[in-house]
């Protein structure tokens, strides 16, 4: 009889204990934690003011620059045709930059001196 009572007591203790563990787990699951932001550091960006825009393209000179990516040459040719058809009073000058990641300093100096605007073909 004593043994039976002891077993029942042990089972009851286990039950209570089990309730306690479950209760703690629920509390833990709802607890808030603090975590660290994983982002690195972006570079500071130097803002440069864009060139002032002309109010019209009539009588102006627009440079079309092909940076050399495959297909860009043909696209800029088609764009030049469009300008000639639709803006006949605009002078179009087509130029080729040696590559997309190397600037032709002489070309940029020429654009700064002579162009009123520039369209640079970057994509592919």
């Amino acid at each position: 009889m004593k043994l039976r009572i002891a077993v029942i007591a042990a089972l009851c203790a286990g039950l209570v204990c089990g309730v306690c563990v479950t209760g703690n787990a629920q509390v833990a699951a709802a607890a808030k934690v603090t975590v660290l932001n994983p982002m690195g550091t972006p570079p500071p960006i130097q803002l440069k003011q864009m060139a002032e825009r002309p109010t019209t393209l009539d009588g102006k000179t627009i440079y079309l620059v092909n940076t050399g990516f495959v297909g860009t040459e043909r696209l800029m040719e088609v764009m030049e045709e469009w300008f000639k058809e639709n803006h006949p009073k605009t002078t179009i000058v087509s130029k080729r930059n040696p590559s997309m990641d190397v600037a032709d300093k002489a070309l940029w100096a020429e654009i700064q001196e002579k162009a009123d605007g520039v369209v640079i073909g970057l994509g592919h």
């Binding site: 994983p38 130097q46 803002l47």
Partner: protein, 414 residues
Amino acid sequence: MPGLRIQYFRGPVWGKTHDQLRKMIIQGNNPITGKPVMPEIIEKLTKPLTAEEKKTGTATLDVGPDTYTGTPDELQQLYLDKRYTDFMPIILPTVEKVEEMLKGTSHEPDEIVGRMNPGSEAGDTWSYTVKDVAISAVMAGAKPEYLPVILALASTGTTPVNVSDNGFMAGAVINGAIRQEIGLNYEIGAVGPYAHANTTIGRAWNLVAINGANCGKVGTTYMGTVGNPMNAIDVIIAENEEQSPFEPFAVRRGFKKDENIVTVFMGWGILSAKNWKADVWGPNMNYPQIIKDIYNQQDAMFGTVAVLSPPIADFVRDGGHATVEDFTKWVQADALAAGPMTAFGPAKPEGKPAGEGKPPAGKAPAGKGASKGKGGFGPMAPQFNVVVTGGTNNNYFMMGGMVPAASVQIDKWR
């Protein structure tokens, strides 16, 4: 440059005829605004500058607070929403876990490890500290003892999730005793996710790129047209030096045998050599010739990497090639006799514009073995590299287009 007036149109440009370009692009609409392209260009050339466009000085991107607080479920969702993850659940980077991770290195938490941009010379170059890398290592589920390898990978500045619309991938080859020390798998399933170290190191490198350098964000810093499944977990290849008949890869790159070295690769990826008709199974297999035949089918952009199981490497040695250098010379002979190649076919003569020889997205990685022309990507001899890894249970191997770039000493990051 903020404020730069950018005109979008429906690409791609290349491969289109004159008439297609006129109809589809010049007379087409901006895919973002839905408005005609050329009138938008005219507006961008003539519309007066806004106050925003006249601003000068320095701008800094806001990357958010140093910490976030919430329940684990809330934070998992927050990190997913903020695209801090690779879309898989993460280990939340608590202060305690990050401090534990930092025990894997003697370097100061604030030390800058490297700088990285989305690749192909596109986008901003971000920097990241030892602590930043440790945070991503925790998120990936890595152990502190893996941290020196992850720091070494991060120090190369090579993004494994390149912005290119090509869908590039990156991988790494690891040599030295660190393979056993941290439990890297170099036997059965070596290039797959079949060991904790390989898998979590590959994942951590991705997360460093995604978080430390803002890479892999679709639409801005990631544009892979179809994508690349090898971007999920970067391929980490520990060489099976013990069962290779050749000198370890890093030794062939000039390092000592007792050094722990990680070498980053970049390219299209690797797949079973059985993918090529050259590898037809039969009772008599001439593996050196099969490898050569596959090499001769490969594009020049990333050359060829042969990831050989030890039995295949033995076949190569027994075929009369005592060293990888000798084998490489033999494999490349026909291709080199045909003249230098670029990604767009035979190289153009000197003096011709090199631009049309550009790869479809961006510059080749450093160390590509190209004989570089003036101003960037020039004619090159297609590379051939050999790595030995995997089990000895069958005569299988992998081939692909991957080229090695930087090699870094891992022990410098302990």
